[in-house]
Assembly symmetry: C2
Homo-oligomer: 206 residues x 2
């Protein structure tokens, strides 16, 4: 219970600008956390398992992350970058030629993702339901879901659709619903959502 000597970790509060060997521990922790958290959720993975699987001492873990929640925050940020942006949005942008095609390609990408054997559901939705909308981690999940909605809205604006904000909200209802249905076993959820998404686009054309 020493109240003094709080080691200032001002050298590497963020993830970028890694000085040297210490970054390897952080990277290993984040890698394991990504694996376990995205597959099994937050509450089901304890700190002891995390440090064991990443071959890191507990003190090392807490030197880099002041709490489990802060690791979860870093994980959510990584998930947004690797999954939302790279795996979904950028992939859909590459697959379509026109803005409308790029929008619809989102559900093609989702549909393929549903069929992967390592399909694990949506992290942000799961954390939101696990922790509740008032918990900081639930709030963070809501923010990342809003960020994803921003990508959809940008695509809608490129397509010249009317009311792109409302369009994006309806669009996200289809995304969330198809993800939940896929989690429940409906592998055709992507196809069904894509069909409804087409109607949504039609009704938002000028």
């Amino acid at each position: 219970m020493s109240t003094e000597a709080k080691v200032p970790i001002s050298d590497a509060p963020s993830q970028v600008a890694s000085p040297e060997g210490s970054a390897k521990s952080v990277e290993r922790i984040l890698l394991v956390a990504y694996e376990l958290f995205s597959r099994r959720g937050i509450r089901d993975v304890g700190v002891n398992e995390l440090i064991e699987r990443s071959g890191v001492a507990k003190a090392t873990f807490y030197r880099h992350f002041p709490s489990k929640d802060s690791l979860v925050l870093a994980f959510l940020e990584q998930r947004d970058k690797l999954w939302t942006v790279e795996a979904i949005v950028s992939q859909a942008r590459r697959q379509g030629q026109t803005p409308v095609e790029r929008l619809l390609a989102i559900f093609d990408v989702l549909g393929e993702w549903f069929r992967r054997d390592d399909f694990e559901g949506s992290t942000f939705i799961q954390v939101l339901l696990e922790m509740g909308p008032s918990h900081p981690l639930g709030q963070a999940s809501i923010n990342y879901l809003a960020k994803l909605r921003g990508h959809v809205q940008a695509l809608a604006e490129e397509a010249g659709l009317v009311d792109p904000a409302g369009f994006a909200r309806s669009w996200q209802i289809l995304m969330k619903g198809s993800i939940i249905s896929a989690t429940g076993g409906d592998l055709d959820a992507g196809k069904r959502a894509r069909q409804m998404a087409g109607w949504l686009i039609e009704h938002h054309k000028a």
Copy 2:
């Protein structure tokens, strides 16, 4: 750990001595469990809190329910009866005159539910994501969601829609998606889903 789904709820005939005293305990436990589970999920509510809030001894709890999971199963069954059937399906059936109106009324009821201050999200989705689709409780949630889909399919058949099974699956995507969006704060999710539901109906008319 017994997989026997014996849920002694409101079954008067086979109960031996003291039909009132024991039933009162079970009912009190179920009442508290319904409150706490539907508001905060399964993993966030422990047995100690359940017995304390229901004024019941721990031994009494475990005399009636062999495990916490068996109580959760009883809770899910109650939730299906009270929420799915009475609060949603029957209510929607009462509000609409024609089968199509009764279908669309589902999203009116949902929309009102989203705006209630005690809106707590969908229990079945939450349990499914909390426990995972392979866990017995996740499986039970999937079954109850399929049961709800059956109600929608029945309404679609009454409306004479084509492919009522596929219709019900698409419909449920809208329901799940709007519930998740409402959990994230979008109070207009019911309205948006209802609009898309109307297009879905149009495309399933003969």
